[in-house]
Point group: C2
Chain length 681, copies 2
């Protein structure tokens, strides 16, 4: 389970109604202390929370992780690390597939463009951000004013602290917090298992339970070419959690939409999710087709294909929630009750306009869904980024599109100048399909489409562009960037020229969406006010890919009349293989077959808990009351996927690798006792 | 390559402009004798044509074939026979995968619902059909009148001859011909190879060339439980064709749209083809996902999955043609020239209104595309058929929907009461997805959707319906049919009840489409008139899944600067396997590995010719001037796919299995000398 890497539509986030049971992705600066005390008799100290917060890390590729040693070791999922594993792989050394073990620090492999962030402080900047936007501003002015004040706050914080500083919108616009992160950009691969065990059962078992996956990878952060000295890291639990024991998940859930109004939910159900799924299925078939041509093609497409399949299955789960009349009736009843309370109170009554405002933006969103220009090509993406950077750099930082502000420049350039390989043949297939899709979306007679084609068919045009561009070279990209806007305008590179043609439309679409988002931000801020007034303030905001705490007991569940146990065992993996004989996704790697006689078979392998997670939580550490590592989140079951809109406790479960399985596998299967010795030390 | 089994939209067919070079799918009662004489110095006799016509057969599953012995042997493609191979397979005996060889006639396996048709006569009934539709009729009246006259003609012919009688619309409504077929319903499997060699290279190699596929299967037709005595069958050529030798293809091309107006083509490009592809990709992923769960699931989904993947690749090729500005410019220029000629001639000028009429129907078609109810479930399909049959049987035959007329009843019941297995678990997956898709298409709040769901989620509802219905039993279906309309109305079977709920909307949508089709029929009849007037009458009509003759020399082509040879060899298959080591679609079956030392490796395997074919031609015999079998059509290359809209000779090729390869494989690989002895005898 990953945070969606292929964002199709910007959607707004907001905050949830009164929490049920173990529902909640709580802010570290606003933990539900009363609830924890009442339900679990647990009173976390300030130090407990701070230690857990600072032991947690965020991966820029969209995932979570944790420090697990004073010597800079970082634990995450194989499927979070896979972007890097893929970039470090070659046809001769397919790390992604066969895994990796550095026997010494000298063998640890530097990731080409991985950035890890450790949250060190949160400041409330709500008044400053809200104060900058006046009620008489047009949406366009409001977007600019909000952008400017956020850029100023981030820049001032960066200058004052040297820390990566990001303003986060919470409760859909009800609160604004400034997050300060320590940044690690020298990240090296220490150990990764084979895909065959990390993703045992493949796409069929993904989002299912029981599971038998060692979905784990270990990196190490460096500073000044030496392992970074880490103060806050997690100790290893001796035996992991007991059944029914409450556990805590500290990670970065990517996005939930639990506060959505009914109109917004119906837009998701009838328009946005179906459109997103259509795009994902298209990409999935395209990547499969490309991969069928040769084993090397299959290797090149693998990581993208995993990501797309994962998103497709996740979205199907979300849509299933929205299409369930019972779920929708529950949401409708809650909205009705809130609106009745708002309308009954003269002070709150003006807030009811927020629902109308959102219905208006939904109408506009419906009109533009699936009409855009969306070019899915790395080389085109680089061209567009260079074009827009040159344009944006003409303005002062606070007026630029946020990703081009001074505060974010370092992270931007790490991506732009990444030495990770670009496969031109794959990129050509993606580009040809993107052009074809743009024709489908806008109609073949559309003037922009005609300009894009330049008289050729989509596939001929893509071939010509990929053949002609030099952007695969990092040196060339640096040269183009150095040439500034003048250099861009006179560039003979066909991909830069294409980006120049498409750029105005991309900017126009973005402006339209940003203004709709701004309108929603103001509306959801009002809905937040209404909810605070009616339900009180002890609520958590919807997920925003920032650090949250979730919790709940380790606990099985009933499904189709069967009791699903809380955990599986290492021995179960071998039985699972037997049961699926003849299926290529269920073949254990050789290392596991060799190690079978030596493994303690009843070691717990994967376990489930009721903790409330979602995509982006992948790689999150699971800890016990003592703050010791007991597990590693890697998935949610099928029933958890409607959690995007509503949390249900009955069957919804988060799925983790058990800490004991991880240690046993490192020791026995991978012979990595040098790593085991470092764990928690 | 198959005719598309998943028809998404009814589209009209018409006839082509002046033929280029080897373009043309010619009517057997209107062969281009002058052209053949001029270009190839060949003057086929009446007997030559009649013999070839009567040696050809049509498969009701959407494909072609030929008689190859007096003892009833029929040759077709493995992928045409696969529907039957699949239905005859069980988990224990997977004929579809591992092939089959009947060592004696007693071992020949009866197909559960295969029907073969041999065309024996064509009559022109244009005046009678056209005369029944008056110019002052509404589209609704016109649909009814045309339906009635056609039903009358077909019934009278059936009663008089005992032959299956079908009126075919040609030139989009310019001509109506009555086709009389001898019907074979006792068809038995004699020999099929392994899928691994029939579809060597899998989806990646499909529609590609060079190829190495033994895409062949042999059936035998029976009458009165004995091999049918066949008068017209093809002799086997001694050595097959030479390079540059002209060959003839006699088969049933399913559908082309070469006469489409520019507006109709743009509708295909911007609306219909993208919508069709979206549906196919959805089905493809769904079937893959189902198949991933177990090897038995994979087996159950295999045949449908092949069909969907084949259609997806074919449609992508068609769309590529439509998105090519060069192709569209050529079509636009031809239309412009014709319209100028029409407008310049006072007698023709009134015909110009036909283009406007088509533009109007296109607007209406655009509005309804992707808004329908389309339930893709075998059990639901049976329920709907029973419901509609009971309703239709209340009316006289000529007023019924055509498939329920008396003339077609025997073929209908063969399908309705087929003993072929229905896999309830697969059907449940398809039904759940269909319900979900219907919600997406109509919006979840749509009243019909709410009725379909009955308060449950799509997957819960599908589970309940599949659990509750008894329609998997043939006996039960017969009982329901016997109960008539009263029985249907009081039925407690939940699937019948669902069909009753959905039926009115299905009928409403069908009526709308039929009226648009009728309007187009009248318009294309006018365009046909204009074309006859401007270009003369020696033209072929667009494909209609009726027998046609195509021809052209065996000839390679140039691609990306490389010369692609006219044929491959058996030895090449072994090299192809080596080149694709590690890819599961490129593993030759054991039989071929065992036979390798004994095979004559330079035997031609597959070859290409310029003959003009399209989906539905699969299984067509390829013959030489002497009417001897030299090959078996099984595919067109990628470049041929835009042939739906325009024929191009430069690279477009039809792909065949060489007759020598077939004989060599039967003899050496499969040890089927008893079959070889029968060939052509």
């Amino acid at each position: 389970m990953k945070i969606f890497r292929f964002t199709l539509l910007t959607v707004m986030v907001a905050f949830s109604a009164v929490a049920k049971a173990d529902e909640g992705m709580w802010l570290f600066n606003d933990l539900p202390l009363e609830l924890l005390k009442q339900k679990y008799g647990f009173e976390p100290s300030k130090e407990w929370a701070e230690h857990l917060m600072k032991s947690s890390v965020r991966f820029n590729v969209g995932g979570s992780g944790s420090f697990i040693s004073s010597t800079g070791l970082v634990l995450t999922n194989h499927h979070v690390g896979s972007d890097t594993l893929f970039k470090l792989s070659t046809p001769e050394r397919n790390i992604m597939e066969v895994g990796y073990l550095a026997k010494t620090q000298a063998e640890e492999l530097k990731a080409p463009d991985l950035e890890l962030n450790q949250l060190v402080e949160i400041k409330d900047v709500t008044d400053e951000v809200k104060g900058a936007v006046k009620s008489d501003m047009t949406p366009e002015q409001a977007v600019a004013a909000r952008r400017a004040v956020i850029a100023r706050i981030e820049k001032a914080s960066l200058d004052a602290t040297g820390l990566k500083s990001t303003v986060t919108t919470l409760y859909g616009g009800g609160r604004y917090h400034l997050y300060l992160y320590k940044k690690y950009t020298d990240v090296r691969l220490v150990w990764a298992p084979e895909t065959a065990i990390a993703f045992f059962g493949g796409d069929a078992d993904n989002f299912e339970y029981p599971r038998f996956c060692l979905d784990a990878t270990i990196f190490r952060v460096y500073e000044n070419d030496k392992p970074a000295k880490i103060d806050h890291f997690l100790k290893w639990s001796a035996n992991g959690p007991d059944e029914k024991e409450v556990v805590f998940v500290s990670g970065h859930p990517g996005r939930t939409s639990r506060i959505f109004t009914m109109d917004a939910l119906k837009y998701q159900r009838d328009v946005a999710q179906p459109a997103g799924l259509t795009n994902l299925r298209r990409q999935e078939i395209l990547l499969q087709q490309y991969g069928l041509r040769s084993t090397e093609n299959a290797r090149r497409a693998r990581d993208d294909l995993f990501g797309v399949q994962n998103s497709r299955k996740a979205r199907l789960g979300m849509l299933a929630g929205l299409q369930d009349p019972v779920v929708m009736a529950e949401k409708a009843a809650a909205e009705k009750a809130l609106l009745e309370a708002v309308n009954a109170d003269p002070k709150l009554k003006p807030l009811a306009g927020a629902w109308t405002s959102i219905s208006e933006t939904i109408k506009k969103r419906t009109e533009i869904t699936g009409k855009g220009v969306a070019v899915n090509s790395q080389l085109f993406g680089l061209a567009l980024e260079l074009v827009q950077m040159a344009e944006e750099d003409q303005k002062p930082s606070e007026q630029r599109l946020p990703e081009f502000s001074d505060a974010g420049r370092e992270s931007l350039l790490q991506q732009l100048y990444s030495e990770a390989p670009i496969y031109a043949d794959l990129d050509q297939v993606l580009l040809a399909d993107s052009i074809s899709k743009t024709l489908e979306q806008r109609g073949g007679d559309d003037p922009l489409c005609q300009q894009i084609l330049a008289g050729k068919s989509p596939s001929e045009r893509a071939a010509e562009l990929i053949r002609g561009t030099e952007l695969a070279s990092v040196e060339y990209r640096k040269k183009v960037a150095a040439g500034g806007l003048e250099g861009i305008k006179s560039s003979k590179d066909p991909m830069i020229q294409l980006a120049m043609i498409i750029n105005p439309e991309v900017r126009r679409q973005r402006a339209v969406t940003e203004q709709l988002d701004e309108q929603d931000k103001q509306a959801y801020a009002q809905i937040a006010e209404a909810r605070f007034a009616v339900h009180g303030t002890s609520v958590y905001p919807d997920a925003t890919f920032t650090l949250r705490l979730a919790f709940g007991p380790v606990m099985g569940y009933e499904q189709d009349g069967q009791q699903i146990p809380a955990w599986t065992t290492l021995g179960g993996a071998y039985e699972h293989e037997k049961k699926h004989a003849g299926q290529s996704d269920y073949v254990l790697p050789k290392s596991w077959k060799d190690a079978e006689p030596s493994l303690v078979k009843n070691t717990p392998f994967n376990f489930v808990s009721t903790a409330d997670i979602i995509g982006g939580n992948s790689g999150s550490p699971v800890v016990n009351r003592n703050g010791e590592l007991v597990g590693l989140i890697f998935d949610g079951n099928i029933q958890s996927l409607s959690g995007n809109y509503v949390y249900t406790e009955k069957q919804s479960r988060s799925v983790s690798v058990h800490s004991s399985a991880l240690r046993e596998a490192l020791q026995v299967v991978y012979g990595a006792s040098h790593i085991v010795k470092e764990l928690g030390k």
